[in-house]
Symmetry: D2
Subunit: 93 residues, 4 copies
């Protein structure tokens, strides 16, 4: 069980859609599409990926981190630190 388990099908659907968008980018390059139109589409794919990341993160905070805190064990602060580092990587990417 992971934080995202209950939304697993929805995440898989979104990731398959992103895979299709990346294949669409390949077709755009192959058919010599105008650079700016490819860039617009790359921005759209990047936003779709980040929306998936934000969803996973919210699920992670609401399940894994919440449970570690509710358990009251020593690993709660470890989980918070780990989540903060993942947020840092997202913000900087």
């Amino acid at each position: 069980m992971r934080g995202y388990t209950q939304d697993k099908d929805a995440y898989l659907k979104r990731l398959r859609r992103i895979e299709g968008q990346v294949r669409g980018l390949q077709r755009m390059v192959e058919s010599d599409t105008y650079c700016i139109d490819i860039l617009t589409q790359v921005s759209a794919v990047t936003r779709a990926l980040q929306a998936v990341a934000l969803g996973l993160l919210e699920d992670h905070l609401g399940h894994c981190v919440t449970e570690a805190i509710a358990d009251g064990g020593p690993e709660a602060s470890e989980k918070v630190k780990e989540a903060a580092e993942a947020i840092g990587r997202l913000v900087r990417s």
Copy 2:
């Protein structure tokens, strides 16, 4: 008491340093500094601001959110949702 209260002086010091960097940007514009050098400095200020945001967020998760969850009250999930929205604003800015 806020999540960042115990690090308040450190945050104020960092924000005063950022204020000084923004004044430095004004001096660069006033003295006709080369555009690219100003852009490099804007990137540095942006990164400094985001480092402050990531620190505040980690403190918020480790204190405010942690306490709401440990309290076991109904507002825990509210706090997680609110934090996730703030993370979304950071990632998109």
Copy 3:
């Protein structure tokens, strides 16, 4: 002929690699990989996509925009504005 035409094969190779990474994300979700490990991989894919975008943009500036300016026609400033807007979309995504 587009700005990226001479590097077309290299771009296609990078985009196929990104497509493979997105499929890897699907396998991670399917096999209940730990949320944080998926997030780390999403950040890597996002960075790979943005590297492609930055390459396309440099090629676009160095070919399409450069040619429009060298031609001295009225569309040069149009091309610069269009490129600036694409940069804005990248920065905000």
Copy 4:
């Protein structure tokens, strides 16, 4: 003369406004404002800084880079490369 010279006053005004926003952040920290409200304001300052950067970049492309290309000298491609690197720093910050 720089690309932004003709808009110098407008840039200085925007940077002074950003300086005021950073001082506002300090007051928020001093008066124990709720973490999430500070984060919302940090996101607003970050966006304001990036809008300045995008403006400077467009001016730079429209003047400095355009002139180097129109001159037809060997430094045109150098300018394009330099601008692309600055865009990369912005996208990653």
